[in-house]
């Protein structure tokens, strides 16, 4: 029998442990993924922008919190403008200009990046966890569980998040955590439906039946087969959810529901509007945070687009 002539090239025959094999597999899988991802121009642009902003957010740790308060503003910090000519347009001292109180817009944007991104990530993690859990359970268990879970999902799906946000902010107060909760708890239905659809399709594959034939319990089947095959979809969806969460936070903050004690891009735009930035021509004050939001959301969208491209041809591949 000439079976050792496998259609791929030879690998050195060494004894490997199960764990080594698992890690080797992960390395190979990641290398393959990266090679594919690199080929996507959209994906690379998005990734670069993302890394840049994450870097910016990290650097916000180094900002001295006292420098953000209005009392820290001095004549030197706002030079060459004076207190009378605030807000100050971009100059050598304040590359992005200042706001109406003389605080450097650049510092504010950096500080705001941290909060905006954290809110975005956290809210989308909540979305992902709830959405994935509900989606997988509904898809895998089927029948009554499916019906119950899906009707619950529908219920949350149709809740208008803006009025809800206003009400909750009025009741629970305006802070970051309420914001994160609102965004997280109203966004998960979309993810849940997506994950359920993918679970239903994965469930039909024979390898799921084989796993049961081998003796796997439900949780073993889900963790070994359903989850790994649903993960790519969840991941790609989460990337987009982060973008949506950041936008949502900005919108809520802009409407005045944000946490007034924190600087986020949304609160910056809100403050700028309240101060009449447009009428006084302080374009830099509006542009900086707005452009940042646009760029970050764009970056996530591009990455999500590239991921989608990778996931779909994968399924079509064999």
């Amino acid at each position: 029998m000439k079976l050792d002539e496998a259609p791929v090239e030879v690998e050195p025959t060494e004894v490997r442990t199960g764990r080594q094999i698992r890690w080797a597999r992960r390395r190979v899988a990641f290398a393959r993924f990266w090679a594919q991802y690199r080929r996507s121009p959209f994906g690379m642009v998005g990734l670069v922008i993302l890394i840049f902003f994450i870097g910016v957010a990290i650097s916000s740790i180094f900002i001295d919190p006292s420098s953000l308060s209005k009392t820290a503003v001095t004549e030197e910090s706002i030079a060459p403008c004076t207190f009378a000519t605030l807000p100050c347009p971009p100059n050598a001292n304040n590359p992005l200009g200042t706001d109406a109180d003389g605080r450097s817009v650049l510092t504010l944007v950096i500080e705001g990046s941290r909060v905006s991104l954290i809110v975005g990530f956290t809210a989308s993690v909540i979305t992902m966890v709830i959405g994935a859990l509900v989606g997988i359970l509904a898809g895998y268990l089927g029948r009554t569980s499916d019906t119950l879970l899906m009707r619950t999902t529908d219920f949350f799906l149709v809740i208008p998040w803006l009025p809800l946000a206003i009400v909750l902010a009025a009741i629970l107060g305006q802070n970051i955590f309420v914001l994160i909760a609102i965004i997280g708890f109203t966004s998960w239905p979309g993810t849940a439906r997506l994950v359920r659809a993918q679970t239903l399709s994965v469930k039909e594959h024979s390898y799921v039946e084989r796993s049961r034939a081998l003796g796997a319990t439900n949780s073993q089947v889900v963790s070994r087969h359903i989850l790994p095959n649903v993960m790519p979809v969840i991941f790609a969806n989460t990337i987009l959810t982060v973008a949506i969460a950041i936008l949502a936070e900005s919108a809520l903050s802009f409407l005045g529901l944000g946490d007034p004690r924190r600087v986020t891009w949304g609160t910056m735009i809100d403050a700028a509007f309240d101060a009449g930035a447009i009428s006084i021509g302080a374009w830099w004050w509006l542009l900086a945070p707005s452009l940042s939001i646009v760029l970050v959301v764009l970056a996530f969208t591009l990455c999500g687009y590239a991921l989608d491209e990778i996931i779909n041809p994968r399924i079509r591949e064999r």
Partner: protein, 357 residues
């Protein structure tokens, strides 16, 4: 071309112990009704996929469960595996009914599926696919303390994939169809089962590759003392590998016995018809059954084969005076010659000497 050594004939069937016994198995599929109709009391169409199947599987034998699609053979196999809920009858393993928790049972009875490509998770390496069985059952050491890698390598070798470690990091799509089916077999072997249930194990493979996989299965039966049930629509395959053949029609076994007896001296008209249509040189002049394959939602009264039966159609049943019974009285298997049973009124008459052959 390789040829398996012709094995010494196993001890006579009735002398070996029974590993699996199926008694009056029934599986009914319920059709769905809309909400409103359901509230009005309307029931969905019932499909009696398995309608009273009984047989014994003896240790070390290869039994072929044969028939066309819709006859219930796959459902029976899946019921034996515990993958299909059962609506009546029992399945006994080594004399005891199947327990509620099937996990220990699964170590003894394993399945080989029809489509090797779909059955393997494309994201898992061959190693992980084989090791899955061990991990599900929490087996991290073999009986002599062998580590997991050795057990996986042993299973791969037994299935003919050598050297085994060359396959560890491969993915299913990198292998050919025949190799994939060997992986499926290895995955079943790693648990060291006693019984293998194979559902159309070679029909999705290229013709020239089938023989090897069948050879492998026969060798495993010899080396490991496995008992094998093969579900197939191909009587040629049954001729090649089976000790006994059971022909199924519309959820019942209509004939069962040693392969030579059933395939060379068939008693039931349906078996005869199936054998007649196996293509071979000589043209298509043989009688071909009319009508479409049977419908398990509308099982005929009396002998379920009577609407298509050549004996009834040709008038011979009327001549012999059995037509009324064929049309109205359901019947069970009866022994024709030792170990060879069939369920046919004409065959009964023949056995009793009341009708010429």
């Amino acid at each position: 071309m390789s040829r398996a050594e012709v094995t010494a004939p196993p001890p006579p069937a009735n002398e070996r112990e029974t590993v699996i016994e199926v008694r009056d198995l029934r599986v009914t599929f319920q059709g769905r009704v809309g909400l409103i109709e359901g509230l009005r009391g309307k029931k969905g169409t019932q499909s009696r996929a398995v309608d009273g199947v009984s047989f014994r599987l003896r240790r070390g034998e290869v039994v072929a469960l044969a028939g066309e699609s819709g006859c219930g053979k796959t459902t029976t196999a899946r019921a034996i595996m515990g993958l299909q809920p059962v609506d009546g009858g029992e399945i006994l393993f080594e004399g005891d009914p199947l327990p509620r928790d099937l996990k220990p049972y699964r170590r003894k009875v394993q399945m080989v599926f029809q489509d090797p490509t779909g059955t393997l998770n494309p994201r898992q390496t061959i190693y992980e696919i084989i090791a899955e069985g061990l991990r599900i059952h929490g087996i991290d050491r073999g009986p002599n303390g062998e580590p997991e890698e050795q057990l996986v390598a042993k299973a791969l070798s037994r299935a003919g994939l050598r050297p085994p470690d060359r396959f560890f990091l491969r993915y299913p799509h990198e292998l050919s169809g025949g190799q994939r089916q060997r992986v499926v077999i290895a995955g079943a072997l790693v648990l060291e089962p006693e019984v293998i249930v194979a559902d159309e194990p070679v029909s999705n493979l290229d013709a020239s590759v089938r023989g090897e996989i069948l050879q492998l299965m026969m060798k495993l039966r010899e080396d490991l003392g496995l008992t094998i049930i093969i579900v197939t629509h191909d009587l040629g395959l049954a001729w090649t590998v089976a000790d006994r053949v059971a022909i199924m029609y519309l959820g019942r076994i209509v004939e069962i016995g040693p392969a030579e007896d059933v395939l060379l001296r068939p008693e039931h008209p349906y078996t005869k018809a199936l054998l007649d249509v196996v293509p071979e040189a000589g043209g298509l002049e043989r009688p071909i059954l009319t009508g479409e394959p049977p419908d398990p939602t509308r099982i005929p009264e009396g002998c379920r084969f009577h609407p298509r039966c050549p004996v009834v159609e040709s008038g011979r049943a009327a001549e012999l005076g059995i037509e009324a019974r064929c049309r109205t009285e359901d019947l069970a298997l009866r022994e024709m010659e030792p170990a060879h049973e069939a369920a046919c009124y004409e065959a009964f008459l023949r056995r009793d000497g009341a009708a010429p052959d």
